[in-house]
Subunit: 472 residues, 2 copies
């Protein structure tokens, strides 16, 4: 075998979406004062084992390097599944065991420390791999910050969650629900976790879109990340970590895709307009030359207007083949320019998302296209948001809950917020065809909870509304 | 142990240099038509072994994953030392063994295929690790392209080499020599390799700064990267690969650094100006307020002018401590604003590179600083270039050659261009204190070689001039 299962390639058409996300989010966190850095791919066994809950959460999925060349290593070395245990020794007293390092955090003046890195991580999952969504290696950013106070840390958790939400809504035209993860679903080692949750109507499954964790002092106590406060006392730092991965690309593809292939939201589309000249057999040489020069002129005008545009003038493919080719790739607008269009001094703009066509005077193309791209972006978000809302049902009893799941929907239901109940729901809701449901999140925006409301699953007093669903 | 030997961190001050290089080079290759993509970190044993010379060149340094969680893997999996063997199965017929992949290259119309990725790679080296220069993991970009003809491939080799050269000269203010690698020093598996070579006067050692390889048809034959030509015949693609790594940062630091620490060229400095207000004990409250507002105003003006500027107004450190602190980090200009400056409505600009100070009227600061930054950039390149030339000697005999090496210089010498001679020179030039010399490159720009010129080392007829040196 030359290729490895569970690892996928990001080809240019999808990788460029990641580049758009990177540019947007990187600017967002730099505006907040976060700096980029890079820490090693490898974790020592000791560092990985430092925080007990954390290692228990990841141990089964860790890939171990045990050999270099033909030599066995003295000790196996882990590949990061996430970098808390790689980075925090450097932040801390604990790292000073090594002569190579200095202690980064000594005084409250060294705080906040806010670092981010764009990296690959490896989780050797046993669940069935799904391109973009569940892969043994993926790309992400991971932020790792330390503050003097809990209040500052908690403020950042929500600032980052908001940026994640905007990646989905503003760039990918995908609605998400912001919320807190349940005790069962939170990040291994965090005090609490928040997330943005998306939903794929076609499969009826929720998908965690990005997570922003308040780690509290769990890691700072284990790694001895202590600082001297204003009053001279020693205190443990308050820490956060937060990550957004190439899963974003998969969510976008699944939410917008149709039977023909990908549908790209214009803001992240590597190519926004494909221009296809359509010569007719009856055209004279002069007419052919005019078609070529008009096409070139339109491309130049669109580029000038800041549009990402390309012309497909290959003469060895027929127009129908080209239409299909660019539809599969999801290019938002196809501009057709035929013999008759040329006579009428107009062109046809065809939308990838709706299939709608409009005829535009050649002199209006450069003004109309940017407008239409914005319209497509807005329409895509409006449609996906309406569908998201349609797929979200409210249930207050077990039967209503199961009926909604059967309709492949998410379910907002009041519950008693206990780990045992969630495990019980998962088991009871599993069927021969479908896995059990779990909490996607406890939405930040809570419906009213009238006193005396009971948990849909346990009959105990409900504590809050959770959003439940089958999920990736 | 919590930390691992041979792996280093890129902290924000150095990582930001990499961000500058990334932005510059990424734009450069996109202008050439290269697209970014991402391929897996892992290589199967079979793929790694496909090109014989290549695997021989890397086998001793490959890190192997043999376990996930508690389970042994069926077969060990390698971590990429470079990605030829990861990527080319996908380019080719050979990759079609897997159901997950399609064949990317079938026809001449699928060429050129020009992909690049920004990744980490791992080489478990046994040589002594040196931060930035020789590390077990490093960041780089690797371009992997395929063409229908040798001529197109060769044109690209030099276009990329030119971009690498400009990263050094235009961004890092470091001179390099462009050349071809000798048979002994070329990339394992390439037809031939080119490189840019830098030199560190302080240590008297050359350092390979980036490599652009013509792979010829070596890999395409092994991986069956075949295309149907215009005339219907089957042909093997012509391939290149090229890489530039975070070693760039180390070269920059070593070439420009002084006893006080780093000296940043303005174009890549994350912070170009540090503003330090210097309150005096005798100042009234009104005067202190004026100092604060004037400082804030200068910072705002400089930001407006596009300068990366920050104010250090911490009241718990003395000015002298701050001067030192920012000198260590290499900030190109320190702007001092004291009580007397304020009275004279002027400020002092101190250069990090030369230590020179100048007094500037407050109203001229925003105009003068960008000018001075450009001047510093130009001066740094001029100085490093003069030093590079001083360190380059010409030798035509063995004795001259050794004398130049003893002076910690590079040596340009005529030779017969045979692998055995290079090995012989390495052994004979090694001393108790210093490693043997090798060819850094055969410069593209060759001095005249009069007929009858003999090889400095073997006495045979010389074929060309090579640049020799001890090296990293």
């Amino acid at each position: 075998m030359l290729l490895l299962a569970g690892c996928y390639i990001l080809r240019p058409n999808s990788f460029s979406i990641w580049e758009s996300i990177t540019a947007f989010f990187d600017k967002g966190i730099k505006d907040l004062g976060v700096q980029n850095a890079y820490f090693p791919l490898f974790v020592t066994e000791n560092a990985l084992n430092t925080e007990k809950d954390h290692v228990e959460g990841f141990a089964a999925e860790v890939a171990w390097v045990t050999k270099s060349g033909q030599s066995e290593l003295d000790r196996p070395i882990a590949i990061r599944p996430t970098s808390e245990t790689v980075m925090y020794p450097y932040y801390a007293q604990a790292g000073a065991q090594s002569p190579e390092t200095e202690i980064w955090i000594r005084s409250h003046r060294d705080l906040p420390l806010r670092l981010n890195q764009w990296t690959n991580v490896v989780r050797w999952e046993f669940k069935h791999p799904t391109p973009f969504i569940r892969t043994r290696e993926f790309l992400w950013q991971e932020g790792h910050t330390a503050f003097a106070t809990k209040a500052e840390a908690e403020e950042e958790v929500l600032q980052i969650l908001d940026l994640y939400s905007r990646v989905y809504t503003d760039l990918l035209a995908v609605p998400v629900c912001k919320g807190k993860k349940s005790a069962k679903e939170k990040f291994a080692g965090s005090l609490y976790s928040t997330s943005v949750e998306a939903f794929v109507p076609a499969t009826g499954r929720g998908v965690q879109g990005g997570t922003s964790h308040c780690l509290g002092q769990n890691f700072s106590k284990m790694f001895k990340i202590e600082f001297e406060a204003d009053d001279g006392s020693k205190q443990f730092a308050w820490q956060n970590s937060w990550g957004l991965s190439t899963r974003t690309i998969g969510v976008m593809i699944m939410v917008h895709g149709d039977d023909k292939g990908i549908v790209m939201p214009p803001r992240v589309a590597p190519l926004q307009v494909i221009v296809i000249p359509i010569p007719a057999g009856s055209m004279s040489d002069a007419q052919r030359a005019e078609l070529t020069s008009t096409t070139a002129d339109l491309v130049a005008q669109l580029k000038q207007a800041g549009v990402r545009v390309q012309c497909d003038d290959r003469d060895n493919y027929r127009p129908g083949w080209k239409y299909n080719h660019w539809e599969v790739k999801g290019v938002p607008i196809r501009l057709e320019l035929g013999f008759k269009d040329l006579e009428k001094k107009s062109a046809v703009l065809a939308r990838r998302d709706t299939g709608a066509k409009e005829t535009v005077a050649l002199t209006d193309v450069a003004a109309r296209v940017p407008e239409l791209l914005e319209q497509i972006q807005a329409d895509m978000l409006a449609r996906s948001t309406a569908e998201f809302e349609e797929c979200k049902e409210t249930a207050t009893t077990w039967d209503e809950f199961m009926a909604a799941l059967d309709r492949k929907h998410m379910v907002l239901a009041p519950w008693a917020d206990e780990e045992e109940i969630e495990e019980d729901v998962r088991k009871r809701s599993a069927t021969a065809e479908a896995m059990g449901a779990k909490t996607l999140c406890i939405p930040l925006e809570q419906p009213e909870l009238p006193p005396g409301t009971k948990c849909f699953a346990s009959g105990k007093d409900a504590k809050n509304w959770a959003l439940w669903g089958r999920s990736y």
